[in-house]
Symmetry: C2
Subunit: 251 residues, 2 copies
């Protein structure tokens, strides 16, 4: 899916933005970059900002106009900061990722263009009319002009998230992916008992005036969910405390 | 919610990145920027890259270390490119936005820090241990080092999307927000009848050998869902065609 998407930058002024867009693409697993009449071809600035995404810049193809850049594409989605005179099917970045996924699922060889406009005034109405959808990145009304590489970053990020979802490669819940086994409830209960006895030995806890102390400590550790190593550490601390304080040790 | 979040940049080398981060923040409606021991204070480069997010740079507060920058925060989330030795609750950018929203819902005055590390090596293990969660932006394994301002852009974008959801300010479905009323089905049926007659008059359509022609045209227009203006235009074209071709006009 990520290889089906062509990022098209129209009439870009700052080559640094082209480089930053290339880096964002490579970070998210895309590689197909098209430049429509850039003010300047990728130069030192572009390569510096691309970090090490050189090959994307090397392989970028330059076109004279948007029509030729999207030739061969079955789905064309243009970025648009504002609602135009004539409204067009307008979608969010997340819906854009759904549309791209759908296109590739129904037609595995589909070519999809994501089109980004000029730094100062985006895409023209004529260019937007070449698109099937317009995608709008939500921004604060008082400051809505996104840097073009930042816009590329947001859209390719959404594409990658969608791609990971489709591959069931989403991050597992951290609780399912912990590096130590979770503690056995019976062992945790033995810890609470040990803790209570030590706190009594330290004259910190008075069962006749409990003031929810044990409940609060229990709530803390239950919320954190103890793993086996952590439980061993806490038990070790209690034993060391007993020894240091001359308390009778519990077996 | 967006005003509760402090963006913390640790030990940043390139002031341009600080400026680009400020721009991303302002675009998404955030304003609270903290700098931990930046290699250089915001300079011309920073202001140039910030576009017009000057006041965020002007008001950025500099701290000597991360501990002091997160003082006053109840929730601290650090960005982490890789799984460390000791694993930590690890969440996606979307889950990060959920955690932030939850924190603000339960405690409206909550201060939340999103912490971003150095350009070359991120946050140290000691800095990551100051966090409640680590957030990982998904990237291609072969090229996983995100530009720090790009990382800020992705996370503040997710925050804005969540904030819009909570305010029910998400983009309406474009079909619900069209600038012209949708056409009445009965009018559309009259159009299909008119179209059929004109196509017969043009000897383009033979009802004895229909070859699904009308079905295909119907499928096309039904899929597009015609609005009233479009329907009027299409009817006008048919009438003009009848006139030009000398066909008998239908009332």
């Amino acid at each position: 899916m990520l290889q089906n998407v062509r990022i098209v930058l129209v009439n870009t002024t700052h080559t640094g933005n082209i480089g930053a867009a290339a880096r964002a693409m490579k970070n998210m697993g895309l590689s197909n970059l098209a430049l429509v009449a850039p003010k300047k071809q990728p130069d030192e600035d572009a390569y510096a900002r691309s970090s090490r995404a050189d090959e994307i810049l090397d392989q970028a193809v330059t076109f004279e106009n948007l029509e030729s850049a999207i030739s061969g594409c079955q789905l064309v989605i243009g970025t648009s900061a504002r609602q135009r005179n004539l409204c067009w099917p307008l979608i969010t970045p997340r819906q854009m990722a759904d549309e791209v996924a759908q296109a590739v699922i129904t037609q595995p060889g589909a070519q999809i263009a994501l089109v980004f406009g000029r730094e100062d005034r985006g895409l023209t109405n004529e260019e937007l009319a070449l698109c099937h959808f317009h995608v709008n990145i939500p921004t604060d009304e008082s400051f809505s002009s996104l840097n073009v590489a930042a816009a590329v970053q947001v859209l390719v990020y959404e594409l990658r998230v969608k791609w990971l979802e489709l591959q069931n490669k989403t991050l597992p819940d951290w609780r399912d992916d912990w590096d130590v086994d979770w503690a056995d409830a019976a062992d945790v209960e033995r810890f609470y008992l040990h803790l209570e006895q030590v706190l009594m030995g330290l004259d910190f806890y008075d069962p006749d005036n409990p003031r929810n102390l044990m409940q609060r400590l229990r709530r803390l550790y239950q919320r954190a969910r103890l793993d086996q190593t952590e439980l061993n550490i806490l038990r070790g601390i209690l034993t060391a405390t007993e020894k240091a304080a001359g308390l009778q040790q519990k077996k």
